[in-house]
């Protein structure tokens, strides 16, 4: 820990040395398998998720609904088959009452069936693919995050509101990237000058940056999670393109800002929450989070914090009887808790109905980088797939 402080890296993630993945509370009451990506370049997201959850549990004195909780942290390594093996272990060997977390959609898709078929509640704090929002909605599946299309659509609305005519789109060449384009286009009606799909292992964006400069768009829209976003933002800034508005999703956020720093200042992102939210609960969360983990919490951490509150509310309502699945489900659907985001409820498909904000990267007085809300873009937004859901 000292060494990290010495090196002055704000991006403190995880714990030094070999930490047992079992974080125990006093006596086992409820067992939760917390699945997140904790290795590889995407691990910052998983760390945000895990730390958000753990802080929430700490705020609840290690209890959910008054029952002591044991969190089993599972690293999916961003490999679907690894995730599947470990989740099966958690279900069978450790008999967890719920599986929570999940950063990436492909991991969710791999573990979805075994978890829901064993009638265990699956609550994601980040992944929210369309697959389970519409016809594939499931009584055991909940999310405290959003449906994946929504943040992209929010940015499409922003581009539309600002009156941009020509937009340049840059996304990774995989399903989520294509979904991002579709989401953006669902609300943006202007001209898309060019769409570029880059490989997920892209090292350098100088090629694409040159193309953007040549195309001279009104703004760019991009979705470049993790290390990709760090590279892109740097190359974009260094090429002197920062005068072209940078509209993004999951590209400049608290997980990547420690590395992007000044290069990302003034860039835009869409979010359900930002650390500058004014409500007291949010303020306490940010303060305690930074004190405990040494970095600024982002959307991911907030959504995971809410996930713990959601479970807490349900256990409270059912009096700790996790075995009564129908009662637990009904209680979960009520979502009877105060979210960090304020306005929050669950729709028929168990996806949140909430507000979406335009946020901007700023440097706080204390020298740390964070996102800050600019304005509310969508109010009480229900995802487009919810209408197809017939919950059985």
């Amino acid at each position: 820990m000292n060494r990290r402080a010495l090196l002055g890296t704000a991006a403190a993630a995880g714990f030094s040395g070999a930490m047992p993945s079992l974080v125990r509370a006093q006596a086992p009451g409820i067992k939760v398998g917390f699945l997140a990506t904790l290795s590889g370049p995407a691990a910052t997201l998983g760390n945000q998720l895990r730390d958000g959850w753990l802080l929430s549990v700490k705020h609840l004195d290690g209890k959910l609904g008054g029952v002591p909780v044991e969190t089993l942290v599972i690293d999916d390594e961003l490999k679907p088959d690894v995730a599947l093996t470990k989740v099966r272990a958690a279900l069978e060997r450790d008999k967890v009452d719920a599986v929570v977390g999940v950063v990436f959609s492909n991991i969710l898709q791999a573990v979805f069936r075994p978890v829901t078929e064993s009638q265990t509640f699956l609550i994601t704090a980040n992944a929210g693919p369309s697959t389970y929002a519409g016809r594939g909605c499931n009584p055991y599946f909940f999310t405290t995050a959003y449906q994946n299309d929504q943040p992209h659509a929010t940015m499409g609305q922003v581009a539309q509101d600002e009156g941009y005519k020509r937009i340049f789109i840059l996304v990774p060449n995989y399903q989520a990237g294509k979904d991002a384009v579709a989401g953006f286009k669902s609300r943006f009606k202007g001209e898309v000058v060019d769409e570029i799909y880059v490989p997920l292992n892209q090292l350098d964006f100088s090629t694409e940056v040159a193309k953007i400069a040549a195309a001279k768009p009104d703004a760019i829209f991009t979705f470049m999670p993790g290390g990709l976003g760090v590279n892109l933002v740097r190359a974009y800034r260094q090429a002197g393109l920062a005068s072209i508005p940078f509209l993004s999703t999951f590209t400049v956020d608290e997980a990547t800002l420690p590395a992007q720093q000044d290069a990302a200042l003034g860039f835009y992102t869409a979010a359900t929450w930002a650390p500058d939210f004014a409500n007291d609960q949010s303020k306490r969360f940010v303060k305690d989070f930074e004190a405990a983990y040494g970095y600024v919490p982002g959307n991911y951490a907030a959504q995971a914090y809410d996930a713990a509150l959601l479970v807490d509310s349900a256990v409270k309502k059912t009096g700790g009887r996790m075995s009564d699945k129908a009662a637990v489900r009904a209680a979960l659907e009520k979502a009877d808790f105060t979210s960090l985001r304020g306005n929050f409820r669950l729709g028929v498909n168990h996806y949140p109905v909430q507000d979406f904000y335009l946020c901007k990267v700023v440097k706080r007085p204390d020298g740390k980088y964070a996102t800050e809300t600019v304005r509310k873009v969508l109010t009480n937004d229900t995802d487009p797939h919810a209408a197809e859901c017939r919950m059985r």
Partner: protein, 307 residues
Amino acid sequence: MSVNLLLVQLLNGAQLGILLFLVAAGLTLVFGVMDFINLAHGVQYMLGAYVAASLGVWANSFWLGLLLALPVSLLIGLVLEWLVFRHLYGRDHLSQVLATFGVILTVDDAVRAIWGSAPLPVPQPEGFTGGVEIMPGLTYPTFRLAIIVVGLLVALLLWLLVDRTKAGMLVRAGASNAPMVSALGVDIGKLFTLVFGFGAMLAGFAGALAGPVFAVTPGMGDAVLILAFVVIVIGGIGSIRGAFIAAVLVGLIDTLGRAMLPDLLRLVMDASSARQTGAALASMLVYIVMAAILFFSPAGLFPVRRG
């Protein structure tokens, strides 16, 4: 595509190529002289970036970090050589692949444990933060130009070292015929250590240079490692000249492929499938070129060893 844009893309390709060359040069020497497959070479690149970034933040100077990263990289290389690699020289390639992969796993996880999983912030190189406006609306960062110049200088230096000095002569002789060199009474163990340390330092230097351009993350060496292997295989194992030409070739192919393939495909298919096929094809292009070169010239473009 305008001439200006093409020029920019050529510069980009050259810059990627130069960085690849710095990594590949050490790899090809180690491979050529010692017949040793070192998968862990990418680890040196990663550690170079991490050390330079951390020391740069600590000293509040990118250049000081870069300078300090050199001896540290050398030291790390020598320690790894002493701990693991020297026990593998006489072994078959298979054992070397397995053991050096073990080194990758260990060091990648160690880096995560020490520095965390998040990309590391890197200080901007003082004096090179500006740019040159090459094309209307596009500034080409002077630091990237500096990488090209520095890389060319290092390539020249390497060429002089390998071509004009006694140690270089031994290295060249070792690359084409190792038993002969040891028969000449040269301490082959010392030569190996020297070459290894030098290669490690070059890779570390490349990593340190790449820090401000790319993201400094755990596992950043893996992608570079594969490309570096592609480079030395295309260039001919053990050949510095081959590594240089192949590195620039790979850099240009990768960059121009990404820049132009989607547009070219649009001539024969509809826009949306052209974009996606083009992107997929561009990722594969380097490998396709390598397979084709090996098909027609199984020992690479500049084979050092006969037969």
